[in-house]
Symmetry: D3
Subunit: 331 residues, 6 copies
């Protein structure tokens, strides 16, 4: 299965060794984003993957392209226009101190300024069997909204699979009527989607589905409504200072959960994308749901132990650790 | 409330990434000291703060001044004389391996060589409402002892609040008659003090107060003797390899303890100063004792998760974490 | 003399050791800008200096404030609004390879979005005897243009000295009618200015003054028209791969040039600001023109040998090197 | 007691801060190997130690020699020949992610190409009272096998103590008949050995000793057969994500175990060598078995908290921590 | 024009900031080699390029592949086998101190152990219009010699252009009869070559062509013999401590030299490959010889100012600097 | 010939990449001093060398010892007492900007507090054939003065060669009568010396020898007076921004100068010690004066191109560069 992702590439800047921005002049530069993260991970797993985005027409665009190629993602669907890349600063948390993310201008980025006319979606569709679209595009700008809808429609029309990630942040949508507007946007894209990542809260708070007796019922009803193949996500638990995580996965016939994992966290950003990449691998390989959810959950556990957003795990590594719990040295 | 602190500025040199001094040629340079730490933290909390000290009249003095200004501390009470700054090397511990501190010559530092004639204490007193004095000045040299006593006396005479930190290390005062001499020094300064940081051991071992039925009684008796407003400190507990900490705070009417916190330790030096800054904030804001001790205790917990001695927390951050326990990502 | 500067603070990001952005994940972060550079240098020279700008209301704004305080610049005229700081990436050149600067979005920065209503110019004027305004503000946005004009007018009305830096880049103003529009802007601000930094090209190409027999005549005519006290700038020469630089300085009575210096270049950005700081020092101290231009020229030579934009020279250092040419070790 | 070790020096290359090799261009270079590790630790403990190996006759050999001298190991038994040093890349694990070691060519290293004729074993024997030989030499090449056998024989013949470390990795010996061949090699060297480090599995799987009722019986039988003085090793336990370790030590009269320690792991490679150095210290000092095993076990615990393979603990440090459990700051 | 290169990928390890290997534990890791360097540079210039080589089947092979992809080189002609990559340590020189290169085992690398059966040369030939082969392959091992001859033969047979680089180092071929043997190897490959990089010394000392009146005559005779289209190379000159370089280029009709450039050297390794990439660009674009040689020479000048072996110049950058000599800042 | 040096070990702290102390938190730590530098260089040249000094009895003393061992210097003459090591901060200059050295307390260092009773000079004398004493010991403290005189006397009495380095800094000796006092000190030690490093200014300004017709005469007269074997030093010249250096060497029969070298300076501290090590090598090997002075001068040229004070050149390297002027790559 060949994959393509539509989404923003962001410049991540982080101080080293858990330092705060006031404590050092040194930053680590990485190129990330939901699309980059999932495609990079799937490329590590051996799949052909591409990224569909607009990068600035300057040194930063060139450097971002090199970074994407380094991850093994194909770069022939990239477009270059405008001069700005969205960026964020991540001050890594430690213990009780939370990770602090500070965004810089995303609305005027090359991606934010580009609508569907900036892309060759025909070529995208012939290059991939499954197309991943991140829900952030629906919130960002009119341009990105326009492009996301167009791509979902065209992909579905061509019989391609569409994978969609809710990625809805209520805190970013607090203006009056914004929620109603966003609800419409999500309702408009969901009919074209086959695999969806989200949470029960997305269904109740954003889509405002009516409460049912059980969560399972609610999810199944949602899946029926939009004819979704797979619905997946993760849950987090806290026991004192110890965080835990569990994955879930629904088809319309069956649903499963992974075992609960204790998390040791080096860098928590991007772990959700690792989970998504794991689920897509099971989908591509027609693995059983249970096998898929355990693979995805372990992949997410590992992503928490890797610096940066991009989950640089390999399929062999995930399987080895699933088979040898507690292994701490490979040579 | 405007704050000023009298105390030594030290150069801290630490290898990166938990390395030992034999393992690297690279050191991180920071300018610290009890006064710097508390004033920097209070400046982050939004207060006007100043530092009263003597720095070397050379490049190191200039660089120390820049570092102090960077923390938001006012630098107009700084004096420059002599050519040496006290320094210490900190090899950060990990797990069972303790942090190892190695001091370099402090007695001949610009601060150690300066007595009250080096300072303009009138200006200090008009610049601040509360003056913090660290007990280390009573142990260091005759000069620093002289300056500390003079400043406490003058501040009290002008109706300013004086905050004093015992900071007594028995291991540093093992010469014959040294304990008796130090007892006199502490007894001489305490009548001028309003807020005191210390422990029960300071009262029994150094001041040699008579045992009472309870610790509370002992502390209240001490507070009555010297007419202390607030007496505060922290206690540490160990459960296997897990360290815990709890703060306490006494007024002459009431006393409270904070909840017990599990510690995740990145760098333990300076956490006591964060606790002091938290208590002083409650004092400045006339918060309730309970509110104050919880704020101070959480501030100290966070200081354990920040590199270096200087607690770079903000008031909003401490309050956010108190209100959202377990939060691990802010964006 | 107390100085204040109005201008943008930018985030500069540079790879270490002459590496290209493709060659490393490591960046050095600095906070710079013409105003920062000149005020920082004057603060190093012992003057009271302030910065007048708008910083983002987030972690980056706080960190920028710390950086400014570290340079010894007063921070009480800073305002905080919006969420974006302009930034640029500098890939340091070496030999025949030029330094490559890539700007990121400056138009939507906190500074770019702020007009005169964002500032308390009354307070600015009472805080300083001379106010420095950078010509970039006239090109950036309508808001910054508005603020620059208002400040110049008010400062002149209060009898304060105004220092203005042309900083005009033809390549940034290539749209039709843009040059005519910019000419008007410059013509509108010059009547309020006392000290001006620029070049003959600014007078001929931007202001479109008529050619005269000599450059001297042209400059004097310009100075008469706008009643300018001092006009100053630098010229560059190349002899094979060796670059050279010379400063010039005009009063309405006299003009001087400095000796020609061979340049050894570590980082060429910010050297012009060092020259300006040197000239302003001579102005503040009422030095002779010749003394002033030699001081300023040597200060600029040294700025080429210091990393980053901010010239961290001291007055003693510049004078020592003027008096001991070729000195290569001070202890 | 003077010690000498025979074994390979390897170049270890590791990315900083838990990064993967794909994530950084920066590597940390260290010179390690079982012999280096044990001799360095014993030198830190105050003993005279030497290393017996062949290093490349080029810059890498010189640099390795400097590194060995820095550890306090004597370098006069080093030989220089050929041009290659064995190396390995270690990507440090974190939480569930195991440490990944990648070896580069060891067979053609200067050490691998050298047999007994490359060494002056007479001088080795007169320079040391106890000679440590690592079992890896029996697996590596015909040359190293030849040298190891010759050295053990000569040392025993001269009445020197021989310490031998099984270090057998079944996964490296999977060719047909390889196990039988290796069994012969081990059987040939054991008669010359006095102290042996290993596990029950070495006795059952490699030496193929017959099962007995208890492990103790098996070990004692093995010790009788080869007239071994001391047999020692460690066991690991896992309780959820928490690893634990315990040391054991057998003389032919008595056997003891250490208390079980919870491990906090910064770098797990080399901890076994720290355990060995601790046991050899007890042997050299004629400590009781119990005292020895506790010292060795704590030394191994500390080695897990130190970067790199080489355990840079001191005797005072180990004893201080044994006497003050939970101590986390020494000044 | 599509390019492919056949050659070894090496791991380059260099200490930072002109430090020696004894002075630091920190190394910079890069993946280089003549083939990598030329293909990376041509990819930067906008051409489709591929690398034909064998990488180790382990983490280092994966990381090397990522590095190659990052340069924009296609990775689908890469093969993975064996477990070792050739490496070298480069201690960068400064002033009178020469750069010191120390090679580690190249003969047993994955590339060194692979002969023509390891490759799919049919696919190589259909993927490229010009195939670059480095003369080092003729010296390295029997396997690489076998593969180089086979590829040259097959490429020529399919009408593809073959570019060959002498790269002959007499110092590496000092065994008796080695020169005669190498002469045969070069004579065997040259009939298949169209573009050749070398020097007059290669023709006289290695091929032992008879002296002629002029160098030009000798070169033309050589070109006639083997029906070479273009023969190119560079010459170095020294004037005191200032190094200079000049390029030359011969077709069978015409020959040209570039202007002489003064060199400012940051890292001299790889500059020859930049020159080759420049010449191949002129060949691909059918530029005039003079235009080609000036472009190539400036590209080589710039490569001296870039860290590492890989010339990360762009076509625009080279042309801009040719058109604006002395330019030192681009924004 | 076996060498020993008596002198202070200092901790050198320098910011990376020509940064100022205000610009970075990162420092490079090195252990240096005239004695360390010369002994390290002679150890690199293959001689047995020792250091005679007192180091602090703490972690810094241990780390200094490791650093000294790493240079190949024997550590068995080291003594440990007191708790302070002298240190200095070096901000590396660039172009016109001079290197700035800032000393921290040297008078109270372990070395400064130790007189002859701290050393076992008998052992020193039996361990070495030539003993190097640095003139700084005569200026530092009464203790170091006492030790230096005692050692010189005892060494001469035992027939050992004494090498003495003037190292007199007028600027450090400006108190009244200080010059007269220092003159006595130098006059007292010179009768025991065989090889002396210094300048004509040392003879005229410090020893106040009467002017003679020529410098040669003056030097010869000085050598006769004290029966000096060899007198050596260097001279510096400036031609615009280009520095040059030339070595001179006198025996009582003959005198020579080296060729004049253009200097490319990476780090100028320690170059004089490299010159001294070169001269001592010629003395040890009984080379001709001319051969010796050229070797020493080239060694000093190379020391300018190496970071830090310690000249890590090898004999082969110096000879190779003397024989191949302009060589810029060795492989």
């Amino acid at each position: 299965m060949r994959f393509a992702a539509f989404g923003e590439v962001m410049l991540r800047l982080s101080p080293p060794e858990y330092l705060l921005l006031d404590q050092t002049n040194e930053l680590r530069m990485d190129y990330t984003g939901t699309g980059v993260n999932i495609m990079a991970n799937l490329a590590q797993f051996g799949y052909e993957t591409s990224l569909v985005t607009v990068l600035p027409e300057n040194r930063l665009g060139q450097v971002a392209k090199s970074a994407i190629a380094k991850y093994g993602i194909k770069t022939d669907l990239l477009t270059f226009a405008h001069h700005h890349i969205g960026s964020y600063f991540a001050e890594n948390g430690y213990g009780a101190r939370p990770t602090q993310v500070t965004y810089q201008n995303r609305h005027h980025s090359s991606f934010g300024l580009s609508n569907q006319t900036a892309y060759d979606f025909e070529k995208v569709i012939t290059s991939a069997d499954l197309i991943q679209i991140c829900g952030i595009s629906l919130s960002l700008t009119d341009n990105t909204r326009d492009a996301a809808h167009a791509l979902a429609r065209k992909a579905a029309a061509s019989g391609k699979k569409v994978c969609f990630d809710f990625n809805f942040r209520p805190s970013l949508n607090t203006e009056p009527n914004k929620l109603a507007f966003m609800k419409e946007q999500y309702e408009a894209i969901l009919p074209y989607c086959d695999i969806v990542f989200g949470s029960v809260r997305d269904l109740t708070d954003l889509l405002q589905l009516e409460q049912t007796d059980t969560e399972d019922e609610l999810i199944l009803q949602f899946m029926e409504t939009y004819q979704i193949d797979w619905f997946a996500g993760t849950k987090r638990f806290s026991e004192k200072t110890q965080k835990q995580q569990q994955g879930f996965l629904y088809s319309r016939e069956e649903h499963v959960v992974s075992r609960k994992h204790e998390l040791t966290i080096l860098d928590r950003i991007g772990a959700g994308d690792a989970y998504a990449a794991g689920i897509l691998t099971g989908y591509a390989e027609s693995w059983h749901l249970k096998e898929t959810v355990e693979f995805a959950a372990m992949n997410a556990v590992l992503a928490h132990t890797i610096h940066g957003d991009v989950p640089l795990t390999t399929k062999e590594q995930v399987l080895t650790i699933l088979e040898n719990p507690g292994i701490d040295l490979i040579r």
